[in-house]
Amino acid sequence: MSRESILGKLRKNKPVVTSEVSAFDFESGINATEEFIRSVKDVGGNVTGINSIENWGDWIKRSYGIGLNVYSEVASLIGNYLLDKEISNEQLNKIDVAVLEGEFGVAENGAVWVERFAHRSIPFITQHLILTLKGSNIISNMHEAYAELAEYGIPDFGVFISGPSKTADIEQSLVYGAHGPKSLTVVIS
C-alpha cells in the first residue's frame, strides 16, 4: 500500500525542527481603496464607480458592443441572457459579458474574492467579466483576506481574480485573454 509506506517513511525520516512558527505579524495599509484601484489597473483591469454608470444598458453597449449576451447575477445590473436549470457547456460558452458579485477586494494585488455563481466556470468562460464590489469591503492585504475567509469558512469553491486572463508565453509579450476573460472591470459601489 502506497499510503502506509509513504507515511512510514515520513515518520522515520522527518527532521527535527525546533523553531517556532507564530502567526505573521502585519500592518494594514491606509487608503486601501486608492491602492486597490491602482493595483487593479496595474494588473490590466478597469475600475469604475457605480455612480458613473448612468444608464446600464447604454454603458454595456458603449463598453462591449451591441447584441451581446449579458449574464448577470447582480440584481441592480440586469442581464439579457439566462441559463437553464440544467446548465450545458454550450450555453455557458455563449456568455459574452458576465456580471458577478465580488465578496471583497485586496488592495495590495487588486484581487477580488468571488465564491457565488450559478456555475463555477462562469468567471472563466465569459468573454468579459464584470465584478461588483462594495467600497467598504476593500481590505489591505492577503493576511486580512484569509482572516476574513476564516471567519466565514472557505467555501466549496472560491477564487481570487486579479485582472483579466493573460499569457506571456510567446517571447514574453503580454497578451490578455488567453483562455479566460479578455477584460475585467471592477464596479465599486
Binding site: 509513504i6 525520516n13 527532521p15 487588486g110 492577503m142 469553491f157 488567453a178
Partner: protein
C-alpha cells in the same frame, strides 16, 4: 552521464538567441526585484515562509493524515502514489473505468516528473496540454525549458511556424493573433472533455482544500467544464493552516514574474454537485530526501523559478542543458537525488555566486547544497584525490616549488598535454602564458639589490 557542459553547447550555437534569453530572464529578475521592493515586510515574509515550510515538513506525516481526513469528509477522493508509475497508473485507471479517451491538462511539473503524457498516450488516452506554452511544446515535441515560462527557449518566428503547420493558418509572428488562435482552438477541447488534469500549488491540512494558480485561466476552464477533476500533488506542497496561504501567495507570483498575484487563484474544497474530484498524493522519492541531512530543505521549494531567472549559468546555457525535469539551480540540487550518475554534472553547472539563494522566497540554501553535492559526488573519485594532493603540495615548500617548475616546463614544451587535460577549461579560454621565471626566482635574484 549526460554532461551539462556538453549539452549547453547546443544552445550556445545561436549567440543572438542566447543573448535574448539572457536579457529576457534578467528583465524578469528585475521585475521580481521591483515587486519585492514594494512590500516593506518582504524579508519577514521570506523568513516566515521558510519557517512554516520547515515546520510543515517536520510534521508532514500527521499533516497529511489530517488533510486526508478533511478532504474525504468534503467529498474529495484521495489517492496515494509512492512512485511515478503508481501515479500514472491511478490516472489511467480512473480514465479507463469511465471510458474517457481524451483529457485536457493544465501545467504541472509533477506530471512532467512522472512522465504522465507518454504513459497515457501509450494507453490510448490523448492528452491536450492547454497552457499556451505547453501546447506549443507539445506540438514541437519539446520538454519545458523553464518551470514558469516553459517555451522561453523558442522565438516567436518558430512558434508562428508550428502554428501554421498544426492549425493550417498563414504564418504569423504576432503574439496577439497567435494567442487568439490558440484560444479558439483549445476552447473546443475544453467544452467537450470529460476529464481535466491539474497540478496543485498548495494544499492546507486544516480544511482539506487545495489551491491552483494560473494566469491563463486554463486550469479552471478545464475542470469546471469537465465531470472529473484529477489533481496531482507532491506531498511536500502541504501547508498546515489556511492562513499560511497568505504568506505564500504574497511571495509566489512576485518571485516568479513580478506580478502581485496570479490572475486566478482557485480554492477547491468540495466537488460541484454531480462531479468528482480526485487528488493524488505523490511521494516519488520525496520521503527519502526528507531523511537526508543537509539536503532535505530542498523540499521547501514552491517552484517559482526565481533561481533560474537570476542564475548566470541558466540564462546563458538554457534550461534544456540540464536535461532534468526541473532545471536551473533548484534542479541541480534536486535531480542528483534521483540519479547521481545521470545528473552528476549539474551541481558543477554553477559559479556558486549565491544569487539563487538570495532570491529564493523560501530561503533554500541552494548554493550551500550545490557545494555539498560537489563533495558528495567527488568523494572517492580521482578529482578528490587530486585536490587532496594539491592540498599536500601547497603545505610543503620544496614539493610546491618542484611541482611548479615541472608544470611550467610541461606547459611550455607540451602545451597539447595541458590542453587535453584541461579541455573543459581551455575550450573557451586560453591559459595565461608561463612567465620566464617564477616570482620566487625573481625575488631571490632581486632581494639583495
Amino acid at each position: 552521464m549526460t554532461d551539462h557542459y556538453e549539452s549547453a553547447k547546443k544552445f550556445l550555437k545561436e549567440p543572438s538567441k542566447v543573448d535574448w534569453h539572457d536579457e529576457t530572464l534578467w528583465w524578469v529578475r528585475k521585475k521580481r526585484d521591483r515587486a519585492a521592493g514594494e512590500v516593506d515586510e518582504w524579508e519577514e515574509l521570506r523568513e516566515a515562509a521558510s519557517n512554516i515550510k520547515e515546520r510543515a515538513l517536520a510534521e508532514l506525516d500527521s499533516n497529511l493524515m489530517e488533510f486526508e481526513q478533511k478532504a474525504i469528509a468534503n467529498g474529495i477522493t484521495v489517492h496515494w502514489a509512492a512512485s511515478a508509475e503508481k501515479h500514472n497508473e491511478i490516472i489511467s485507471d480512473l480514465l479507463r473505468e469511465r471510458n474517457i479517451s481524451r483529457v485536457v491538462k493544465s501545467k504541472s511539473m509533477l506530471t512532467e516528473e512522472c512522465g504522465l503524457n507518454p504513459y497515457l498516450e501509450n494507453h490510448g488516452i490523448e492528452v491536450v496540454d492547454t497552457d499556451l506554452g505547453e501546447r506549443i511544446l507539445q506540438w514541437k515535441e519539446h520538454a519545458p525549458s523553464h518551470i514558469v515560462m516553459p517555451a522561453i527557449h523558442l522565438k516567436k518566428k518558430e512558434i508562428g511556424k508550428i502554428f501554421a503547420e498544426k492549425l493550417k493558418i498563414p504564418e504569423s509572428d504576432d503574439p496577439q493573433l497567435l494567442t487568439e488562435t490558440a484560444r479558439q482552438h483549445l476552447r473546443g477541447y475544453f467544452l467537450h472533455s470529460k476529464a481535466a488534469l491539474t497540478g496543485v500549488n498548495f494544499a492546507v491540512a486544516d480544511t482539506g482544500a487545495f489551491v491552483v494558480c494560473t494566469n491563463e485561466g486554463n486550469a479552471d476552464m478545464g475542470v469546471h467544464l469537465a465531470d472529473v477533476h484529477i489533481a496531482s500533488m507532491g506531498i511536500e506542497k502541504l501547508l498546515p493552516k489556511t492562513e499560511d496561504l497568505a504568506v505564500f501567495l504574497r511571495l509566489l507570483a512576485r518571485s516568479a514574474t513580478g506580478q502581485p498575484i496570479t490572475a486566478f487563484t482557485s480554492h477547491f474544497k468540495k466537488p460541484a454537485r454531480g462531479k468528482e474530484i480526485h487528488l493524488i498524493l505523490v511521494d516519488n522519492g520525496r520521503s527519502a530526501i526528507l531523511g537526508k541531512r543537509g539536503f532535505w530543505k530542498v523540499l521547501k521549494c514552491i517552484r517559482c523559478g526565481a533561481c533560474m531567472n537570476t542564475c548566470p549559468v541558466f540564462r546563458k546555457a538554457g534550461g534544456h542543458s540540464y536535461h532534468s525535469t526541473i532545471p536551473g539551480p533548484i534542479g541541480a540540487i534536486l535531480a542528483p537525488h534521483y540519479d547521481s550518475e545521470k545528473y552528476g554534472s549539474l551541481p558543477f553547472a554553477s559559479s556558486l555566486c549565491g544569487s539563487c539563494t538570495a532570491v529564493c522566497p523560501v530561503k533554500i540554501d541552494i548554493d550551500r547544497q550545490l557545494y555539498a553535492w560537489r563533495q558528495e559526488l567527488t568523494r572517492g573519485n580521482g578529482s578528490q584525490l587530486l585536490v587532496s594532493l594539491i592540498g599536500k603540495a601547497l603545505q610543503r615548500n620544496k614539493l610546491y616549488d618542484r611541482l611548479g617548475v615541472f608544470l611550467s616546463m610541461i606547459q611550455r614544451r607540451f602545451p597539447w598535454i595541458v590542453n587535453r587535460v584541461l579541455k573543459a577549461y581551455t575550450q573557451s579560454r586560453s591559459l595565461p602564458d608561463v612567465p620566464a621565471e617564477s616570482f620566487k626566482e625573481w625575488y631571490k635574484r632581486n632581494r639583495d639589490e
